[in-house]
């Protein structure tokens, strides 16, 4: 299977192509068959590939399938590689992706453009797999842009809805900014190392001296640029604005792309280039701070959002912040660990939310929900599980990963305490707004119009994935279970070879800091419980209280409700000036006056000349004959006055 690794991404591509080309005519059943079949197969292939990889016991499998670009000493090939990190990502992508495909067959059943949706979805799978399997930055960038594209297509899936179309554009444009940085980073790396495939870059970088804190050397700048791209893709400050709007897309999309997989690409890239990052503490610190800030910032916004999907979106942002925090403090394994668990429970949350929306016939505003717990039990339970997981209740997946991150943050030498504090606070907020969501949605008395809206449980094609994901988000974290009785962290050891020796060292340190870890875990649980209790008091026992609280600190509330006016700020600072510039300078001045003027001028000139010359084309054969003679005379004259010319001509003939 490894030898034919390309099959893994190819299958979804085929599915996408087939559906895209023929799907329009086909009934949904066949479209399902194609899309689910292709993704499912590729999931199996991925499993098989992983099995073989471990069977072979090699640290890194790498195969160059064909050379794509070759210029001078630069080579960018279709090279795929597999190591532990890849396996994790690959399995998450194909597995979760597959589940979400199944879910979508139920969720989208009544939508128009069914085949289109699945074609896009498969396309996304293809690009995402390319991204995670790529063995060099160029190919990775291909996947990177590809997922951006399919995300754009899917956000704007209901392109007739203006908000959706705009959201799509917004996502695309904001990502451009990040990609810009990413490309610059790649160029810089190429200049520094003369190659872009991971092996060469990392081996060379490994030999470089680590750049001291606050020193901006090549590596640091490269890392920061890469991180800029990552921030764009993974919706970190200040480029996070597109993700909440991306909720305009169908819920499965939000689940797959904007929660589980695509948005984590940034984290993946940072983890993938951990060698570079670990050589520049400055960059690491930046990553950590940005991550931490984003986590807190987004969480605060999430507190007051009323749209169920918006809440989840902000929570996604903040969880991504966690992951970056982890990477920033050097706990890449923890980051990836959280990435995985988050993929499980956040996907689950979104799908469940989707199920809720489905049940209410498209209602997304929590104030108009409530009391659904009894009506749609399965959805309720699964969503509850996910909430517990994300809130970090012990023995649930989120607990372990978040705990690992906080612990790492606490331990980190530079400003560890502050980061930890914010992380902890975020955990509290997370717990609060998640439970707020649960309570507003499932408990209390219904606030929707029961005559018009008749709630119904979703079909099994939707509930099945929910169940599976629920299970996963329970057991997903148990790799790390042993650490609590001084055992090894399996996940860390597992990722060790891929993410470098630094982890191993830390594993050693962990034993020493074991007691400390237990304490921190306790603290985290405490924070979660506080969040829970507050939410309970505000929304269940004394519902009135929430509004009073909002009234009492109206200013802060409105600020939060309006998401700190960030969008407005951007609009004022960036969008409007740009619009003005492009309208007046580029369009009116340059294009209309300059370019069009020139083109039309040339056209007019040509027309005038032609009008003049036209008269020689009298259509009178005899005149033409005369012209022929004139030409002959010119030739003869050349031969006569300039014999060498004729010699040359003859020479040409011979």
């Amino acid at each position: 299977m490894l030898a034919y690794l390309w099959i893994v991404p190819l299958l979804p591509l085929l599915g996408s192509a087939i559906n895209g080309i023929f799907g329009a005519k086909w009934p949904n059943k066949i479209v399902n068959l194609v899309s689910i079949g292709s993704t499912g197969l590729s999931f199996l292939c991925a499993l098989e590939a992983g099995r073989e990889f471990f069977g072979s016991g090699q640290a890194l499998f790498r195969k160059e399938f064909f050379t794509w670009i070759s210029a001078g000493n630069f080579r960018a090939g279709f090279d795929l590689q597999v190591d532990q990190l890849t396996v994790v990502m690959m399995l998450v992508v194909t597995g979760v992706g597959w589940l979400i495909h199944i879910y979508s067959t139920g969720y989208m059943a009544h939508e128009g453009g069914y085949y289109r949706f699945f074609s896009y979805l498969n396309l996304f799978m293809f690009f995402m797999l390319i991204l995670v399997l790529a063995a060099n930055y160029v190919l990775l960038f291909v996947g990177w842009e590809g997922v951006g594209l399919s995300s754009y297509l899917l956000i704007g899936f209901w392109f007739l809805k203006k908000s959706a179309a705009d959201a799509g554009k917004k996502a695309f444009i904001v990502n451009r900014i990040g990609d810009f940085g990413f490309m610059l980073g790649m160029f810089l790396l190429f200049r520094a190392f003369g190659a872009l495939d991971f092996q060469t870059v990392f081996t060379k970088a490994g030999t470089w001296p680590a750049e001291p804190m606050g020193h901006f050397g090549t590596l640091t700048i490269a890392c920061l640029l890469l991180f800029m791209g990552a921030a764009g893709k993974s919706a970190q400050l200040p480029l996070y604005v597109w993700l909440p709007d991306a909720m305009e897309g169908p819920t499965p999309v939000s689940a797959l792309i904007h929660a589980a997989t695509m948005v984590t690409a940034g984290v993946y890239v940072v983890a993938r280039s951990h060698v570079l990052f670990s050589h520049s503490p400055t960059a690491m610190l930046v990553v950590a701070i940005v991550g931490c800030a984003t986590a807190f910032f987004a969480a605060t916004i999430g507190l007051v959002q009323t749209d169920i999907k918006k809440v989840l979106a902000y929570s996604t942002v903040s969880q991504l912040g966690y992951m970056f925090l982890a990477c920033g403090v050097g706990a890449f394994t923890a980051g990836i660990f959280h990435l995985m668990t988050h993929a499980f429970f956040k996907a689950l949350l979104f799908l469940a939310a989707g199920s809720v929306i489905h049940a209410l016939g498209g209602e997304q505003e929590m104030p108009r929900m409530g009391g659904l717990g009894k009506k749609i039990r399965w959805t309720y339970y699964t969503m509850l599980t996910a909430t517990l997981a994300i809130a970090g209740i012990p023995l649930f997946a989120g607990f372990f990963s978040k705990d690992a991150i906080l612990f790492a943050a606490f331990q980190s030498p530079t400003g560890g305490r502050i980061l930890y504090a914010f992380g902890l606070l975020t955990a509290l907020l997370t717990a609060f707004y998640m439970f707020r969501l649960i309570f507003l949605t499932f408990t209390g008395k219904p606030r929707y119009d029961e005559k018009t809206v008749h709630v119904h449980e979703s079909p099994w094609s939707m509930l099945g994935p929910l169940a599976v994901l629920a299970v996963l988000s329970v057991i997903g974290g148990w790799f790390a279970l042993p650490t609590f009785y001084q055992g090894p962290d399996h996940f860390a050891n597992f990722l060790g070879p891929a993410l470098g020796a630094r982890e191993a060292a830390e594993a050693g340190a962990q034993a020493a800091a074991h007691s400390l870890e237990l304490i921190l875990a306790g603290v985290a649980v405490l924070a979660a419980t506080i969040g829970f209790v507050v939410a309970y008091r505000l929304y269940v026992s004394r519902p009135r209280k929430a509004d009073e609280l909002a009234q009492s600190m109206k200013r802060a509330y409105t600020v939060l409700l309006n998401k700190y006016y960030v969008d407005e700020l951007y609009a004022a600072a960036v969008v409007r000036p740009l619009l003005w510039l492009s309208t007046n300078v580029f369009w009116k001045a340059t294009d209309v006056a300059g370019i069009d003027g020139t083109v039309n001028g040339i056209a007019h000139g040509t027309a005038t000349i032609g009008d003049g010359v036209r008269h020689s084309q009298s259509g009178n054969t005899r005149s033409y004959a005369v012209w022929v003679v004139a030409g002959a005379i010119i030739v003869l004259a050349a031969i006569f006055f300039w014999p060498s010319a004729s010699k040359i001509a003859v020479g040409l003939v011979h």
Binding site: S618, G619, T621, R622, A625, V629
Partner: protein, 100 residues
């Protein structure tokens, strides 16, 4: 023995006359004939030089020219017949529209 120059000059004269006819005749067929005249003049020069240089290439070339002329005549006259059929005239000055 006739000097080669004489032949060549004769061919030049014929060629000139051919060009003249080519320009100053109005009848398509006659114009076509003047082209043949020019070809003949060239042939004469060919043969003259071939005799002068004692090489036969010239004569072979003449044969080729004749073949080409024959083909040309076949096609050309076909076209002329069409013109006469569609335009009801053989005067090139009256045939100055691409489309009727």
């Amino acid at each position: 023995m006739v000097p080669t120059n004489y032949y060549v000059i004769l061919s030049a004269i014929l060629f000139g006359l051919g060009v003249f006819a080519f320009i100053f005749k109005r009848n398509v067929i006659t114009i076509f004939m003047s082209i043949e005249l020019m070809l003949n003049a060239v042939n004469l020069a060919f043969v003259a030089f071939s005799q002068a240089l004692g090489k036969l290439d010239g004569q072979v070339f003449v044969l080729f020219v004749i073949v080409v002329a024959a083909a040309e005549a076949a096609v050309g006259l076909g076209i002329i017949i069409l013109i006469a059929r569609n335009r009801q005239t053989l005067n090139v000055e009256r045939v100055d529209l691409l489309k009727l």
